[in-house]
């Protein structure tokens, strides 16, 4: 593929797209300046491709080719289709916050939860001139990345959630992203700020309304975890099998805090989940796990950067991929230990299970350690299902698919077991079971 040829075309198309979208993008003054700067950054560099080290396995110039036109504001018919999809993905007892085609849909969402929790639409904040520093909502602390820039430029909406100090949220917050319009792109940006000592659970789901195809979901979520706060975070990417999902999480963890995160990707033809997770206070711990369940020609990339910027923090990453047909899974895990970050404990273990000869798993661990008193390690395995275990199960009456399903569940379970809450773990397991059931 001739990159020199592709870039200008994409760039022109994207410039047109940005120009066309301007009227629909909330915010003026410093907000639109921030958008313009972000767009210029994207336009200068274009879609990331294989020569960009962080994207070497996920060349968006070949996998995505171009940014689809922005989805229209959903009409009543679209909202009705979205409502059906919401019902199918209801996580029991959670506060639903629904984004349809990149627009917050209050009529499909639950009322602002309990006292001490504030939920606002990003669009409302950006358009409200009384809110100081609203441009901050679009500016991130994360390493420069073109897809974050593009998201900043084009984010139409999202939810901004603030949880008050020491509040222990009784029910999970569930951001549901639903696409109803085929061959369009939606850009969302959400924020969750846990004040010191707050406890919360955040679920993010990505699904298609029935019939929606070949769309692009572009999302960024910014998570602030205060001192002594705890966030349990689960992402479920179940987009249509010909869709794309390009998502970023930017996480800052305070002192003596906990971040427990699990991403499960089984949807989308092309997906990238990048997590930039930074320890900003001492004595904290993060479990950042991931599961890719892919088949057909799906390409799923999970890229994590754990930045140990302060001493006495620990992080553990467990990643599992189950790959059938010609599927391609990528895991890139970088652990940075800054010069001051003594007593860092950083671990990373990835395993891939190949169910077919055509499947492929790439694993790129990177340790950048600038402190001397640290414990860091990583390991990786790639293999097929153990024949002797399969035979044991089949000799007891399980069909080949059933036996595989049990072994796959066990394999995936190693990444899922860190989810402490039973109900939440079931939400993840059910998503995995849907994937297994769809295999037939």
């Amino acid at each position: 593929m001739d990159v020199a040829l592709v870039k200008p075309t994409t760039e022109r198309a994207t410039r047109e797209l940005f120009a066309a979208a301007r009227d629909r993008l909330p915010g003026s003054g410093p907000v639109s300046e921030a958008r313009q700067a972000a767009f210029d950054d994207f336009a200068r560099r274009g879609l990331p491709y294989r020569r960009i080290e962080e994207w070497k396995y996920t060349d968006l110039r070949t996998l995505l080719r171009e940014i689809a036109p922005l989805a229209a504001t959903p009409d009543q018919a679209a909202l009705a289709r979205a409502a059906k999809a919401v019902v199918a993905r209801d996580a029991k007892g959670a506060y639903k916050l629904v984004l349809v085609d990149g627009v917050f849909a209050p009529q499909l969402s639950d009322q602002t939860p309990e006292t001490g929790v504030e939920v606002r639409a990003l669009r409302n904040i950006l358009e409200n001139n009384d809110v100081a520093a609203r441009a901050d909502l679009l500016i991130t602390t994360a390493a420069s990345d073109t897809m974050i820039s593009l998201n900043t430029a084009l984010a139409t909406d999202g939810v901004v959630i603030d949880v008050a100090e020491n509040l222990n949220l009784s029910r999970p917050l569930h951001i549901v992203h639903i696409t109803t319009q085929s061959s369009t792109a939606a850009f969302t940006r959400s924020l969750l700020r846990l004040a010191n000592g707050a406890h919360a659970t955040l679920i993010e789901s990505f699904v298609a309304a029935e019939g929606a195809a070949a769309y692009q979901a572009h999302d960024s979520v910014v998570l602030w975890i205060g001192d002594g706060a705890e966030l349990q975070h689960v992402r479920l990417v179940e987009d249509a099998h010909d869709a794309a999902n390009i998502s970023t999480a930017i996480v800052t963890i305070g002192a003596k805090a906990r971040f427990n995160s699990l991403n499960l990707t089984c949807g989308a033809a092309v997906s990238r989940y990048q997590g930039f997770i930074k320890f900003g206070g001492e004595g904290s711990h993060a479990d950042v796990n991931g599961v890719n369940l892919l088949n057909g020609h799906q390409h799923g990339d999970t890229t994590l950067v754990l930045d140990h910027a302060v001493p006495h923090c620990s992080s553990n990453e467990v990643f599992r991929a189950v790959l059938d047909d010609q599927a391609h899974s990528v895991f890139q895990g970088k652990i940075i230990v800054q010069p001051d970050a003594q007593k860092t404990d950083g671990k990373m273990m990835t395993r891939a299970l190949l169910l077919s000869d055509g499947a492929e798993a790439d694993n790129k661990p990177e340790l950048e350690i600038f402190a001397d008193d640290v414990t860091c390690g990583h390991g990786a395995t790639v293999g097929a299902l153990d024949e002797s275990l399969l035979f044991y199960l089949r000799a007891r009456g399980l069909s080949e698919k059933e036996a595989q399903a049990l072994l796959i569940q066990a394999f995936v379970g190693e990444a899922v077991e860190s989810v402490a809450d039973d109900g939440l773990r079931d939400v993840v397991i059910e998503a995995a079971e849907r994937w297994l059931a769809a295999r037939g």
Binding site: R396, E402, A410
Partner: protein
Amino acid sequence: MPLLEVKDLQVRVEEREILHGLSLTVNKGEVHAIMGPNGSGKSTLSHVIAGKPGYEVTGGQILFNGEDLLEMEPDERAAKGVFLAFQYPVEIPGVATMTFLRTALNAQRKARGESEYSTPNFLKKVRDVAASLNIPQDMLRRGINVGFSGGEKKRNEVLQMALFEPSLCILDEMDSGLDIDALRVAADGVNALRSPDRAMVVITHYQRLLNYIVPDFVHVMSKGRVVKSGNKDLALELEASGYAQFEEA
């Protein structure tokens, strides 16, 4: 019609012939013991009957209730009533024993066109069988055989046998690794399953097991064949004289 008929079975593993024309007929209600030196092909025979991949049958036949067993997938064989208690049961971390037992039992029942067990009925059945085999409930909450002692694994095999109620039970060295008390409990479990509709093939190295599970027939296997058959006294003879006489043959 015999329950199991193995006729002139020839089996290769990785280009090497292990069974060289083995024949064995088992009728319902019978208990057969198979004895024979290490490497004579006893486990190979049991694996081929159960349908383990990796064995190439180059000649002969296995009929089960008159049907060609070699044409069936392992799970079909299980549903039709073939059960192998493994010499070396595998550990499967992450698959809860109870989930496994229930999935397996219901898969077999479904394949036979029977209704699935309800949860309370299933739990009661497992609890009763486990109690009769001195298997504590907490073992059933673990992954399949994970952290089980050698003897516990063997008892878990007998538990499954009792639960699935197969018509052909092949026990491959059920006694190895069992202490004397556990052996008696496991043998009682096996004996409780003896019935006119069911047959057992008991593979063992030790005559002692046959004091508990008294066979109708004893076969001696050597170098991939049955070289002698007799009644339970043959086991006592072997205990006294060893296998040397057959090795030379």
